[in-house]
Symmetry: C2
Subunit: 304 residues, 2 copies
Amino acid sequence: MKTFSVTVLGNSAALPTRTRSLSSQVVNYRERLFLIDCGEGTQMNLKRNKIRTGKIGHIFISHLHGDHFYGLIGLISTFHLQNRKSVLHVYGPEPLEQIIRIQLEASDTRLSYPLAFHTTQSQKPEIIFDDGRMQISTLPLLHRVPTTGFLFSEKPLPRKLMREAADRYGVPLEKFESIRNGDDFTDEEGNLIPNSLLTLDPPSCRSFAYCSDTGYYEPLTGMISGCSLLYHEATFMEDLKEAAREKQHSTAADAARIAAKAGADRLLLGHFSARYDDLQPLLNEARAVFGNSFLAEENVTYEV
Amino acid sequence: MKTFSVTVLGNSAALPTRTRSLSSQVVNYRERLFLIDCGEGTQMNLKRNKIRTGKIGHIFISHLHGDHFYGLIGLISTFHLQNRKSVLHVYGPEPLEQIIRIQLEASDTRLSYPLAFHTTQSQKPEIIFDDGRMQISTLPLLHRVPTTGFLFSEKPLPRKLMREAADRYGVPLEKFESIRNGDDFTDEEGNLIPNSLLTLDPPSCRSFAYCSDTGYYEPLTGMISGCSLLYHEATFMEDLKEAAREKQHSTAADAARIAAKAGADRLLLGHFSARYDDLQPLLNEARAVFGNSFLAEENVTYEV
């Protein structure tokens, strides 16, 4: 199975704590790295996790609350000081480019590499990346400022041809591609050999959804239906659900309800309020609704 | 002796390392706190040092290279999230206010407290703070973008009246103030009692100079003449003095030469290039020129 994993760099909401950092995650898909959100201190956390930052080609910013992007300018500057040459693509809401550019100008910095901004909008989902193997879409979320999540979906692979069976039924080489794509085969004597005798199912398509920050938002479940791994914010617990509604954040139980309705395989809870020292009660609350819930622990890599 | 100390939060130049943070220091003068520079991660380092951030009323930014101010927006936001009420004064070069305001706008943040910006200029020294007991001046430095250091100078205190001697010579209460200010006393019989019999010297005035970033800049020595404690950048060692000249940074020996020519009591070296794992050679280089040199160690408080 090709690598598809997520490393959590920060899981704290709004404020860093003595033990928790601000939002950021690294998605590794077949050794290409994608950074999601970039709170203050992200470059230090990348270093601590010995992540090869030269492999990060794309950075996705969910929204412009500081705990999700104040580390971006520092990372961009550090790439420059390290004499990076390859293009860096940054995706995020409109004013982001201006915020970065004004700071580079103030320090009279001409970057050593091209920096390409791509503006996201939060009205409807949009495919923002597709390299033929993996596709990334935005997920409109329910928050106080324009906010999107991100859905990383593996694209369907061709079926796996069983070489021995193909030889046995006399399939010529030039038919291999159509059979990998699901066609049946008719041999020289006119016998129909069904595809199922010639191929195996490809590995199923994996997907990872990052949903932070958001209030409880049911339309999301349709967009992330059946995802393998869902990271969903769980800023509060149910006893503070009024605060959650007001600030358009979720409780741990909200996150679990979304995971259950979306039919996700697994749920990672994160973006915890600094008020919680012990996170076990949040996990318990989510597990009562959706058994396959886990805490998104910092410096831990999760397979998708 | 009233508190006058400096806590070093970060001593790394340009890039954070696994063990060193970006520039920031806290000056404590009689329990008022002043922050100098605010590299990324400063709010975490303040927390680690258990510094009561509510007592920080003034922040001084030397220049707009990112390693000296990318942590400012995060700290300003955190103060807001903590519902700070008291005014925060920020001093720095012109575009700083715009950089901060544009980010607060993007997150639709109306701060819970007043934020007052004060623009510094780097043409000539300027008094930017004076509370009657302590005075803060800018120090124009030699760097690639407009940069100032900061000189914290205690103001002269009145002489210390010896109460017993005053009683012995029959000094009336209403004369105390003039005698504290250095006047002699003439008693009822016309005898002149010299001030030296009535008072002791006040504690001598202490001063702290923060000089980062700067190339070797001799005019500085006149501005910080006789300072008690000098923090001077020492990005490189002498074998890289060409790089130092080109980038307008100093070597450890440069810093020591400035300390010697200024007649400083003690020198703290800081702003070390990330290339140095072991800092002892920088200290040795400085001590060969100026014996009273020390490394500015992070999370250590130095008395001025």
